[in-house]
C-alpha cells in the first residue's frame, strides 16, 4: 500500500483526463504537496516546542550580571557553563521537591492505575449493572479543570467548611487534618486520583473492548472462571494500555503545579517550592532569575524523560 505514491508516470497515460497538466508538473505537485500539508503544523511546532526548548537550554547556560544597584549601568550576559545547574541542585528545597514528587508518584500512580484497572474490569464484567451510567460518572471529573477540582476539594478539606470533618467529628469523635504537613501531599494525591482515574479507566476499557470474543469463548470452554479470565487473558492483553497510562501519569506527576499552588492559600504546610514546577515558577517570577528557572525546567524534563524511559525499558524486558 505504499509503493505507488511517488511513482508518477502511471498517471500520464490517460492524458486527456489529467486536464492538460503535463506529467512533469504533476510530479513536482506531488513533491510539493506533503510540505504544503505538513508545513503549517511544522512551523508552529518549531515555534512552540523546539524553539522554547532551545531557548531554555540556552538560558540555562547563560549568566546575567547587572552592573549597578538596579542594573541601570548595563546588563552583561555570559556563558555560565553549569553554574545555573549547580545553583539549582545545591538548592535543598528544589531537590527535596523532586524527591517529594517521586514519593508521591510511587504511591499515587500505582494506586490510580490499579483502581482504574479494577474499575474497568468490573465495568466490563457481566456482573455490572448500568455500566454506561457508571462509566460516564467515573469519567466526568476528567472534564473538570485541575484548578476547579482543587477549589472543590479544598472546600472539603478546610476545617469549618468541610462537611466531611463535621461528619467524622460527630461519628468517630476525631478531627482529621487534611492540610497538615504530613497529610497535605496525600490530599493532593486524592485530587489527582479523583481527576484522572476515570480517564485512565476509559483507556483500559477501550482496550478491553478490543479483545476478540473468541478469546473469552476459548477461556470458557477451558473452564476458566471470571478471576482466571481476568488474570490470564484480560490483564496480559491490556498491557499496552497500562504501560501508556503509567508513562503519562509519571510525566504528569512531575508537572504537578495547579493543585499545590491553589492549596497554598489554605495550607501553611505548602511552601513556594513544594513541587519542582512550583519551584521553577517561583524562581522565575518571584526572584526574576530566569536562568536558574530555565535550568530547573530542563532538569524536570530530564527527570521525566529518564523515568519514562526507565519504565518502558523495564516493561519491555519483562515481556520478552
Amino acid at each position: 500500500m505504499t509503493t505507488q505514491t511517488t511513482t508518477t508516470p502511471t498517471g500520464a497515460a490517460p492524458g486527456t483526463r489529467v486536464a492538460g497538466r503535463p506529467p512533469k508538473k504533476r510530479s513536482t505537485a506531488v513533491d510539493r504537496a506533503p510540505w504544503i500539508l505538513v508545513g503549517p503544523f511544522l512551523a508552529l511546532f518549531l515555534l512552540t516546542f523546539v524553539l522554547p526548548i532551545i531557548v531554555a537550554i540556552g538560558q540555562s547556560f547563560t549568566t546575567v550580571t547587572r552592573a549597578g544597584l538596579f542594573g541601570e549601568q548595563g546588563v552583561t550576559t555570559g556563558f555560565a557553563w553549569f553554574e545555573n545547574y549547580r545553583i539549582a541542585l545545591e538548592d535543598g528545597n528544589f531537590v527535596a521537591s523532586i524527591w517529594r514528587m517521586l514519593l508521591f508518584g510511587v504511591v499515587q500512580v500505582p494506586v490510580m492505575i490499579v483502581a482504574a484497572t479494577v474499575l474497568a474490569l468490573l465495568l466490563e464484567s457481566a456482573s455490572a449493572r448500568w455500566p454506561g451510567f457508571f462509566r460516564a460518572t467515573f469519567f466526568m471529573p476528567y472534564g473538570i479543570p485541575g484548578v476547579i477540582a482543587t477549589i472543590l476539594w479544598s472546600f472539603l478539606y478546610v476545617p469549618g467548611l468541610s462537611p466531611i470533618i463535621d461528619l467524622t467529628e460527630t461519628l468517630f469523635g476525631f478531627t482529621p487534618d487534611f492540610l497538615g504537613a504530613g497529610t497535605v501531599l496525600w490530599s493532593i494525591a486524592n485530587i489527582v486520583t479523583w481527576t484522572y482515574a476515570g480517564y485512565n479507566m476509559l483507556i483500559i476499557v477501550a482496550q478491553l473492548k478490543a479483545i476478540p470474543p473468541e478469546m473469552y469463548e476459548a477461556a470458557r470452554v477451558d473452564g476458566a472462571g471470571p478471576w482466571r479470565t481476568a488474570w490470564s487473558i484480560q490483564l496480559p492483553l491490556i498491557r499496552p494500555a497500562l504501560v501508556l497510562t503509567t508513562v503519562f501519569s509519571i510525566i504528569g506527576t512531575l508537572q504537578l503545579f495547579a493543585e499545590p499552588q491553589l492549596l497554598m492559600t489554605v495550607s501553611p504546610a505548602i511552601d513556594s517550592q513544594f513541587t519542582p514546577n512550583l519551584s521553577a515558577y517561583t524562581t522565575a517570577f518571584a526572584y526574576n532569575d530566569y536562568n536558574v528557572a530555565a535550568a530547573q525546567s530542563v532538569l524536570i524534563a530530564l527527570v521525566a524523560f529518564a523515568l519514562s524511559f526507565l519504565f518502558l525499558r523495564l516493561t519491555n524486558r519483562s515481556s520478552r
Binding site: R17, L37, V55, S127, F134, G146, L156, P163, I203
Partner: protein, 306 residues
C-alpha cells in the same frame, strides 16, 4: 514504539453498553451482581460528592455556608441570588472569562485538529526526505512536559511582544503533537493509497484529495483529537497563568482562581466562587457524559503499537 502494523485501529465495534457476547457466559449469580454493583455505587459516590457539595453550597448564603450541615441545603435558598451575583459581579467579568475559554478551546481545538490531520496525512501518504526526522521530533514532543515549555515560551513571546495577548494562549494551543501522532497512524491504516492514486488519475489536485477524501475518511480520529485538544486547552492553567496579566484575557480557570484566592480576606467571595464553580462545572460535566463514547479508541489506537 516501533512501527508495527495497526490492523486493529479502524475496528470499532460501536455497540455501546452491551457487555459483549460474554453475557451469555452464564446466568451470573445475583450475589456477584449485587457485590459488583455495590462497589461501583460506592465509587460513584466518591466521584460525585464534590459536585454534589458545590450544588448545595452554591445555594447558601455565606452565613449558612459556615453555619449549616454541608451536605444539606441551608435555611435560605439563595441559589439564584448567588448565580445572579456571579453573572453581574465586576461588570459581568465571569461571562467574559467563560467566553474567553470558549474562544481559546474552540478556535484552538478546530485549527489544531485541522493542522494535525494535514500533517499526519502528509506523513502517512507521501514519501519525502525528512519524513522520519519530522516524525521522531514530534514523537519527542508528545513526551515533553507541557509546563517545561511554558516558561521559555513566555520569554520568547515577551520578546516578540505577544505576551499578555490573546495570541499568547491561542498560538501554543494550535499545536497537538499527540493529534499529529494519532492522525498519522490512522491515515496509514485507513486511507487507501490506491484510492488516492485513482483520484489523482481523475485529475484531482493533491490538496483537493486531502480535503475531500482524506479528511472524510479520517473523521473518527479527528473527533478524538478535537475532543482531547478542547479538554486540554480548557483545563490548562499554567500557560495562561504565565502568559496573561490582564484579567480581561483570563480563561475561566484563572478567573475562578482569582476569586478563590480572595476568600480568606473577603468572605463574600465564597458565594461568588461556589456559584462560579457550579456554573463552569455543569456544562463540562454534561459534555463529558454526552461525549464519553467518542473517547473510545482514542489513545489506545496509538497504544496498540507500544
Amino acid at each position: 514504539m516501533t512501527s508495527a502494523t495497526v490492523s486493529t485501529a479502524p475496528r470499532r465495534t460501536d455497540v455501546p453498553d452491551v457487555p459483549a457476547p460474554r453475557e451469555g457466559r452464564s446466568g451470573r449469580r445475583p450475589a456477584s451482581t449485587i457485590l459488583v454493583t455495590g462497589i461501583l455505587v460506592v465509587v460513584a459516590i466518591y466521584f460525585l460528592v464534590p459536585v454534589y457539595w458545590v450544588v448545595v453550597a452554591a445555594s447558601k448564603t455565606t452565613d449558612d455556608l459556615f453555619g449549616t450541615n454541608g451536605f444539606w441545603f441551608g435555611n435560605t435558598f439563595a441559589l439564584f441570588d448567588n448565580l445572579g451575583a456571579v453573572l453581574t459581579y465586576g461588570g459581568g467579568v465571569f461571562v467574559r472569562w467563560f467566553a474567553n475559554s470558549v474562544l481559546y478551546a474552540g478556535v484552538g481545538g478546530l485549527i489544531a485538529t485541522y493542522l494535525a490531520a494535514a500533517g499526519g496525512y502528509a506523513l502517512a501518504k507521501y514519501r519525502f526526505r525528512g519524513r522520519n526526522l519530522i516524525f521522531g521530533l514530534v514523537l519527542g514532543g508528545v513526551l515533553v512536559p507541557g509546563t517545561a515549555t511554558a516558561l521559555p515560551l513566555f520569554l520568547l513571546f515577551s520578546q516578540l511582544g505577544l505576551a499578555n495577548t490573546y495570541w499568547s494562549v491561542l498560538i501554543p494551543s494550535l499545536v497537538s503533537p499527540f493529534g499529529f501522532f494519532l492522525c498519522r497512524i490512522y491515515a496509514d491504516a485507513t486511507v487507501d493509497s490506491s484510492l488516492v492514486e485513482a483520484a489523482r488519475i481523475d485529475g484531482a489536485g493533491e490538496l483537493r484529495i486531502f480535503h475531500t477524501l482524506g479528511l472524510r475518511i479520517m473523521t473518527p480520529a479527528l473527533v478524538t483529537v478535537f475532543l482531547f485538544q478542547i479538554v486540554g486547552i480548557w483545563n490548562n492553567y499554567f500557560l495562561p497563568l504565565v502568559m496573561l496579566s490582564d484579567q480581561d484575557l483570563y480563561p475561566i480557570t484563572l478567573g475562578l482562581n482569582n476569586w478563590n484566592s480572595q476568600t480568606d480576606r473577603l468572605p463574600e467571595f465564597y458565594e461568588l466562587t461556589t456559584g462560579g464553580v457550579l456554573l463552569s462545572v455543569i456544562p463540562l460535566a454534561v459534555a463529558m457524559i454526552v461525549l464519553q463514547r467518542f473517547w473510545r479508541g482514542g489513545l489506545t489506537e496509538g497504544a496498540v503499537k507500544a
